[in-house]
Amino acid sequence: MAEPVASVENLVKRYDGVAAVDGLSFEVQRGEIFAILGPNGAGKTTTIEILECITQPTAGSVSVLGNSVTASRGADEVKKRIGVLPQKFGGIGRLTIAENLKFFAAMYDKSVEVMGLLDSLEIRDKAKVRFADLSEGLKRRVGIAIALVNDPDLIFLDEPTSDLDPEPRRTTWKVIADLRAKGKTIVLATHYVDEAQRLADRIGILRGGKIIALDTPAELLGKFGGGKAVIFRGGGDAVFGTLRRFFDTVSMDGSDVVLPFDRLRDLEVAFAALVDRGLEVEVALRSPTMEDVFLRLTGLKTSDSGEAN
């Protein structure tokens, strides 16, 4: 197994005695997108800032790209080789995109050619537009460009699509996926469940400063998703009563009847029972989603836009 790009062991961070992060342990593998998913206040930004070496841990050991973050030499090394997009990044509003990129590139000994970077993110035609005049989606894209000026192998993105409309969100997702295709490793902090599911190779669900689950989306869905179910819409007591005779696991959700199942045989039995009784009812299939996983694990509902609250 290759060296992890970052490893965190029993990380604790306290502010005024209150633990924002309380015993976190995880590793980030090379070339993956690792999502830290959790509601606001869960400790995502704190964790990311410790990995970025802009905040010091209270306890625990953290190593990024082979360097310990608590050693000052180590922190300096890390900063040369990582890219960072902070939350709600607004750039230097008065400067143009090109000027912003050149400014940040000047912070590093080695940086990529700015125009090439603009090309690769398809924003070359806007090079002379002031940052403050850009749309929200473009601001994020330029923010990601700024995170790439030193050609980092490890990139931290803190809520890269928050407050974006659906279209720029999708575009930003594509940009992030392209980065992984180029071999970059990405640590993504988000409170969007769908974003984590869509982009991440592995998700660490964070709540109250602790990781409550860490796995690939598929495994999380399998373990905590609750499995597939058939929904008999408006089935009511009649359908419920019929199925109850065969299945313990059937439940009601309002007037809908929900029947979890594993095998097709279960369905065969269920449908036969209903047809036998002459019950006609609308049928829908429900597959487990990350929202289900999240709800089960944290007890928190997600809003309509898929945000964890």
Binding site: E52, I54, K79, P86, K88, G90, G93, M107
Partner: protein
């Protein structure tokens, strides 16, 4: 930019025109009008640049996550602070140069170009940059921060003898003026043409030291 240079220049022209350049004007206690206003306005607008201009810029950079982004680069906090102070010092000298050129050309003003006044300009720029950086660091919203900056700048300008001599104010206001850094900065610049008054210099230097340290302390960066 406009505010930084046009406003003080315009004021110098207006005031110089209104009060003329006669040394015997009762208004100005025996000094040339331009020689009174030139250093006074220069000092006042170095203050404004630091306490309003820099406050707004720094506050916006903080709000927009630029400081956070920079603290994740190899740039150190010291380098950032030095760069900020240096830019304000350059701005202060540029303003002084513009004002002096005008003053010499139009009003036969003299002075402002000796070692003492240059050190004073340097210290004054530092002093008010420190105020600006402190405000930006302490207040979250750029509008509020620069609003506070304005609330400090304009009264201080009025009370420190920029537009009228301190002696012409009621005594309780004169007492207030004695507590304001701009009073010493402006007086120091005025007197630099005649004789270096050590009191002004020492007061400005101490204020500058304190405010630079506060500005550095309140500028958010790494926690290390």
């Amino acid at each position: 930019m406009l505010f930084s240079f046009l406003f003080p220049v315009a004021l110098l022209l207006v005031l110089g025109t209104i009060y003329g350049n006669s040394g015997s004007s009762n208004h100005m206690v025996g000094q040339d009008t331009a020689s009174y206003y030139l250093p006074g306005l220069t000092a006042a607008f170095i203050m404004a640049n630091g306490v309003i201009g820099l406050t707004r810029i720094s506050s916006e950079l903080k709000r927009d996550g630029v400081l956070r982004r920079l603290s994740a680069t190899p740039l150190t906090k010291l380098e950032w602070l030095l760069g900020t102070f240096l830019s304000q010092i350059v701005l202060a000298f540029a303003l002084a140069a513009v004002m002096l050129t005008l003053g010499v050309a139009l009003y036969n003003a003299s002075g402002l170009v000796n070692v003492y006044s240059m050190v004073l300009l340097f210290l004054g720029a530092l002093l008010f940059s420190g105020v600006g950086m402190s405000l930006a660091g302490l207040v979250k919203d750029p509008e509020v921060a620069s609003g506070l900056g304005e609330a400090i700048t304009y009264p201080m300008m009025l009370l420190s003898g920029t537009f009228w001599p301190i002696g012409s104010m009621p005594s309780y206001l004169q007492t207030v003026a004695q507590a304001l850094p701009l009073t010493y900065f402006a007086d120091g610049l005025r007197n630099s043409m005649v004789s270096a008054d050590l009191t002004d210099f020492v007061v400005v230097a101490i204020f500058a030291l304190v405010l630079v340290l506060l500005g550095a302390r309140f500028t958010p960066w790494n926690e290390s």
